[in-house]
Point group: C2
DNA sequence: TAATGGCCGTACCGTACGTTACGGTACGGC
DNA sequence: GCCGTACCGTAACGTACGGTACGGCCATTA
């Protein structure tokens, strides 16, 4: 079990943030080692890569699982949600916001960091007593839902999206339309190249399909969708 | 590297099938051990569970990776595709077939066996020199695509589905609509209960959305969709 | 009947890893 | 100057696992 670190940052790994500067350096080095993926993430390898002592790792994070949880928590704490729930929502702005979100989501999920972290959490999800998967779920998939839900609900309040379904259900469908089989194929090791143009195309297609499914207006007018797929989310 | 087994079944693990009776028993015991998931799948544990010798495991499968690949291949060989490409396709039959497929897909992906095998392959996909993930991908996701593609193309030829898109693209969208976030949440360890009624409901909803997106007729008539979610596929 | 060969059970070896312990160093406080 | 603390580097220990070797059992076959 991860005990409280004996440092000036009490209960750091239980808050997911508040790691000291040096601790963040160590965790970033560990993450870099994980993403490189040449060898299994061992305490010795982490200590070597981070130029720190194994005893320090145990003092700070208590356990091997504690280090992994701290890595996940640190990356999760980097994700910020610029919700900016906008009122006076028009259909074009809704489409643009949805498309930007879809692009962000695909960019993140296709990144090395997301793949490596999800692989780590999934490989530890089999044996119980490890909550890595739940941490990743909470800060990945569920955080995405919480981030998009205000926009969906704003669209519903503005009469642009059908209001007879929960925003959660709409998000799950949007998630499926955007992600499709990309994540599982990447997790299973397929080398499918996803560049920014492909991401923009898929984001636009998914957004169009989502709007076609849940828009209240039956017009199929494909208004120009300004592609805005800049990587707004940087991790997880 | 997995060498050819020195038995009466030459090149068994390279064909994915043709394992001897005893070999199948061993692989099934290993799979059961993997699904139970209490401890990591080790050669000693497999030998103990299967009441066989470790030397026999090495003789048959050559390597630890060979055993894992054999497990995956054995399960993959159980999946059979009753394609039955039907001509004279009507919209109702198309919907029913799609919905049955969606139910099968969700039933399989939500099963313990699929989750355990995908976790195994994903955890081995990080370090190269392991093709477990590709094997699973080929016999899971891609086999599903090959199985549904005839139906989709038949629907296109019958003028029921739009014909300006590749069947592969349509399948990817269908896959996303059906699976949504279920697989990743299960892989990450969430205990989300998926019973047959929930599966039937989600399969019907996904099928309805797919048809609404790609049907050539613009009628929103939701013809009665006979729920047929019997587990037709038994593994993977 | 005797020999052969496949297979089981078990013991064994080398290695890698988690975890702990210890020596050495830097730094702030008294 | 001295002490306590935090940290680095490394060594050491116990365990678990991949892989190998060997003796014994049993069925098939000459």
């Amino acid at each position: 079990m991860a005990t409280a670190p004996q440092t000036d940052m009490p209960a750091a790994e239980t808050r997911g943030e508040g790691f000291s500067k040096r601790q963040c350096e160590v965790l970033d080095a560990a993450l870099e080692l994980l993403v490189s993926g040449d060898d299994r993430l061992s305490m010795s390898a982490i200590a070597r890569a981070a130029s720190c002592s194994k005893e320090t790792l145990y003092n700070w994070f208590g356990d091997s699982d504690g280090v992994l949880a701290a890595i996940v928590r640190r990356q999760a704490s980097k994700v910020r949600m610029p919700t900016e729930a906008g009122d006076k929502l028009g259909i074009d702005e809704l489409r643009n916001r949805l498309e930007a979100f879809a692009g962000d989501l695909l960019t993140v999920l296709a990144g090395n960091m997301s793949v490596a972290l999800n692989r780590l959490a999934i490989s530890h999800a089999g044996s119980s007593k490890s909550t890595l998967g739940l941490i990743l779920l909470e800060n990945g998939r569920f955080a995405m839902g919480r981030r998009l839900k205000p926009l969906i609900e704003a669209g519903q309040r503005a009469g642009l999206l059908v209001g007879d379904k929960e925003a959660e259900m709409l998000f799950r469908t949007f998630f499926g339309l955007v992600v499709r089989d990309v994540q599982i194929r990447l997790l299973l090791g397929e080398r499918l190249g996803v560049d920014q143009t492909a991401i923009a195309r898929e984001a636009a297609e998914a957004t169009g399909q989502f709007v076609r499914l849940f828009s209240t207006s039956t017009s199929n007018a494909t208004s120009n969708t300004i592609s805005n797929t800049g990587a707004r989310i940087r991790a997880i």
